[in-house]
């Protein structure tokens, strides 16, 4: 978009003060507004990680498209995979506009992913060996994503908020898609129930890790900066507690167990008490040393290479038709 030239005579300090005052008033920031480099960098980090995770998240589910048990299930999981790629497109667009003043593009993000500089969500480094995993990913992984993203709807960065509005609407469908698979298995045979129980047990530590380490942990985090800028409004632990409140009872209602005998809701503190996952393992997983990290990255790389001819063809045609 074109606009008239800016004629601002404010010093950097005055701009920063005005910016923080806008944040405090609850105003939203647009892509072409002045913003501190720190705010821009936090957003790029958060949104590119979110966008790439959507795309990497499509991969474990994609594995189940050819093996879905019925035609309806196959169509539904295909629709979900397509949605995830669409969410990636939305978020990468938001990240691109933030990166434009730094001279970085979508290709740079892809390269950062391949070289391991750009992280993606811990859950997408994990195995999804059974059909129950397809259900659990939809029900609990997307359920966890809904909790994080609903909090972020109120983010101070307007383009991210607009993207999240579209995404949250579709995530609700994903969660229902997952619930439908899970309930079918839970109401099924002993073998089906056992498959689902194994999947819940397998995914439990990853689900706890999904929200990131608690504030008092040893891993440094950007949480406080992000809360000062109102990019987010709740801490990792607050989100994890909301997740436990919503899903632990449902897991018990279906008659399944968690691999944590200590987990319970403490009425006095109003908090769930649970066994911490191995946060050292979490560090290694997001660094790309999870059980499926290398495989998924190579899938993404192969797909990027294999479709290069499509992009090339579009480009040469594009210049003629454009």
């Amino acid at each position: 978009m074109q606009t008239r030239m800016e004629h601002s005579e404010l010093t950097e300090n005055e701009k920063m003060e005005a910016f923080l005052a806008r944040i405090d008033r609850g105003e939203k920031i647009e892509a072409d507004d002045w913003m501190p480099a720190d705010y821009r960098n936090q957003l790029i980090k958060l949104i590119s990680m979110h966008g790439i995770s959507e795309i990497m998240g499509a991969l474990p589910e994609k594995e189940w498209v050819p093996k879905a048990p019925t035609l309806r299930r196959k169509l539904a999981i295909m629709a979900k995979v397509q949605d995830e790629m669409g969410h990636g497109q939305l978020l990468l667009r938001v990240a691109e506009d933030l990166m434009a003043p730094l001279g970085k593009t979508r290709e740079d993000l892809m390269q950062d992913l391949f070289t391991g500089r750009l992280k993606f969500h811990n859950v997408f480094h994990m195995e999804a060996p059974t059909w129950a995993d397809a259900g659990v990913i939809g029900w609990l992984v997307d359920g966890a994503a809904i909790i994080t993203q609903t909090m972020s709807l109120d983010t101070s960065y307007a383009p991210y908020a607009r993207a999240l509005h579209r995404i949250c609407a579709e995530e609700k469908f994903h969660a229902q898609h997952g619930e439908s698979i899970v309930l079918e298995l839970a109401e099924g045979t002993e073998a089906q129930r056992q498959m689902l129980q194994e999947s819940i047990t397998r995914w439990w530590p990853s689900l706890l890790m999904f929200f990131g380490p608690p504030e008092n942990g040893t891993i440094t985090s950007n949480q406080s900066a992000n809360m000062r800028y109102k990019i987010r409004s709740q801490t990792n632990e607050e989100l994890r507690q909301a997740f436990l409140t919503k899903y632990v009872p449902r897991i018990f209602h279906l008659g399944f167990t968690l691999p944590d005998e200590t987990i319970h809701f403490d009425e006095a503190s109003g908090q769930w008490i649970y066994q911490q996952p191995d946060w050292e393992a979490f560090k290694l997983i997001v660094k790309g040393q999870g059980p499926r990290s290398a495989h998924r990255l190579s899938l993404r790389e192969t797909s990027y290479e294999d479709t290069k001819w499509v992009r090339d063809a579009i480009m040469s045609f594009g210049r003629q038709a454009g």
Binding site: L90, E96, Q111, E170, K308, I314, M315, F317
Partner: protein, 113 residues
């Protein structure tokens, strides 16, 4: 991979119309090498579920708009009630008074005769 041309894709803004009487609404933006691909991608990216009657894509560079410094001046002064229906809130009550006075007179005339 490194040889891929970078700057040849343009940003397109996408607008869609839900039905024949609704206005065009901005959906989001996308990257495309030309307008035909942009139109196809717009359907894929934004209209997988929503009903859609018509669709536009516009190159972002072709949109001329306000800078962040100019936008605050869009805020309307609050002394323009004469432009809005709420500036004429007394009308209903006055019409009612006229109607009641008229009806009273009619009543009186009737009982007087």
């Amino acid at each position: 991979m490194g040889t891929e041309a970078k700057k040849d894709f343009d940003i397109y803004e996408v607008f869609s119309q839900k039905n024949v009487t609704s206005s065009f609404v901005h959906q989001f933006s996308l990257l495309a090498p030309n307008k035909e691909v942009a139109l196809t991608m717009a359907r894929e990216n934004f209209l997988r579920r929503e009903p859609c009657f018509n669709l536009w894509v516009v190159k972002r560079d072709d949109i001329y708009g306000l800078s962040p410094e100019e936008r605050p001046f869009l805020e309307r002064l609050d002394n323009k009630s004469y432009r809005e229906t709420k500036g004429y809130g007394d009308l209903q009550a006055r019409w009612r008074q006229h109607k009641e006075r008229y009806e009273e007179q009619q009543q009186k005339a009737k009982s007087g005769s």
